[in-house]
Amino acid sequence: MKYFEHAIVFLNKIFLVVGGIAVLALMTIATANVVLRIFHIPFRGAYELVSFVGAIVIAFALGFTQQRKGHIVVDILTEKFPKALGKFFDIINHFVTMVFFALVAWQIYRVGMQIWSSGELSETLKIIYHPFIFAVSLGFVTLSLTALAQLMSDFRSGEEK
């Protein structure tokens, strides 16, 4: 089981690197468009490209944010719960996250498949954009897998005790 958890940590690291490159690309494209507009040679597809790259930035950070427990949790009551109950809620939390976001990933994948099969192109650049939708779906897959790894870790720490 530990191999799986290590693999997820490694996967999140790779996704973080891609997300990091994407955020710098986002900065560069948006800034370049401002500069190009000053010289009256605007890059017409910049808005579209920024939107697609922006989707990658966030999607590829999903697993990493889940791994570092970086989301906002209202723990004003739960932190006062007994340890065993807290552990129980950890399991519920990780299980719900895993199932729900697997569902979300699947639905986004279906949106991508629809776009792919209809041959739809982006409005301005006229490029295929379903790969970006699949990438977002993949981001949610990593979120779901990270929750699974955390769920495994919850059970293992329970057994060790």
């Binding site: 906002i72 639905q107 949610f140």
Partner: protein
Amino acid sequence: MEGPIVGLYGIIIMFAILFLTKIPAAFVMALVGFLGVAYVTSFQAALGMIGADMWNIFSSYGLTVIPMFILVGEFAHYGGYNNSLYSATYKWFGHYKGGLSITTIMACAIFSAISGSNTATAATMSTVAIPEMKKYNYHPQLSAGSVAAGATLGVLIPPSIVLVVYGLYTGQSIGKLFFGNVIPSAILTMLIAATVFYICWRHPDWGPKGPKSTWLERIKAIPDLIDIFILFGIIMYALFTGVVTATEAAAASCAIALILCLARKKISWAGFLKSISDTLWISCLVFMIVAGAVIFGRFLAVTRLPFEAASLIGSLALPSWVLFWIIIVCYIIGGCVMDALAFLLVSLPIFYPIVTQMGYDPIWFGQVICIVTTMGSIMPPIGICCYVVAGMAKDIPLGTVFRGSFYYIPSYIISIIVLMLFPYATVMVLSDLVR
């Protein structure tokens, strides 16, 4: 069951899950919204909605402004602008009674002009300001309280992530929101600084005077602030003229911040990597809250609860200002028990239609809400700024930080009253200038 009643149950269930389980706020909103839509319409419809909505949110051009505004603040944070900022403001204010606290508040205000996060500002300023104040025997309540209160300005002063998210959610211009925010921010900063004078008047030994700098030293310190004014100026000018989008303004300021950090050798490779990874984390956190709120808002819209509530409240005989203060009190209580941004987005689908129905200006309401949610970050029991300060200053207990911060609460209330009494002079006079 009637639609609006389902919506009401949905809100209760959402809060119950939020408080009784450890599921993150963003996930709870999305999950309850999804299940609610499935209940009101059908499971198939809810499945279709969640896939399409998530893709639309993730690929929204408007939301790309969030990682860019966070990145510029992170570059400044890891570029060590806090140190130079603090020493520069110290030369101007350090010799007054409580001068180091004033310095801290002013440095926070200036740092906030490029950072949209209060926790980043609190962490940044705690490391610099608290050891200095300790050196000069400042009372821990004054030192920690002033850092926590000053750090709240991070959320208020443009580029404020709360205002960005509010603007994106309600469809209001970010440029108008930022410009409308200039005077309220100045009022609150002044009131927080005035509170320090008040504390030092009540407790003369809490904030002893520091050494006085010469005028030459003060003038020499100004160049340290120039980078920050350049970045703030670029963002505000670009948004004012409307020649660029908010994302482009933020991206350009990011690029310039990076160039300045590299040119002045202010950022290390490790700091650069850390600023990128922190940006991804915070952006993801904010994005997911927005996504959760959009899905939850979709559910409420399907139940027609916000519209029914708005028309019900519209028919009540109560004066609008009474209703308005009821909403404000809800925000204060909400801000006390949960994260400001999360509560803002949970509540906006409910309160925003009511407020617009009552005829309040959305840009003005954004400023009021921003101040109220800002105040939540120093209110017990979960005031995030106090936790950050107590975490950074290991020898100051959390209770002392909260007690110290409590002195500043009236500043926020007075600011809101001033905004209510003079809506045009405080907000619209500048926001109306933006094209």
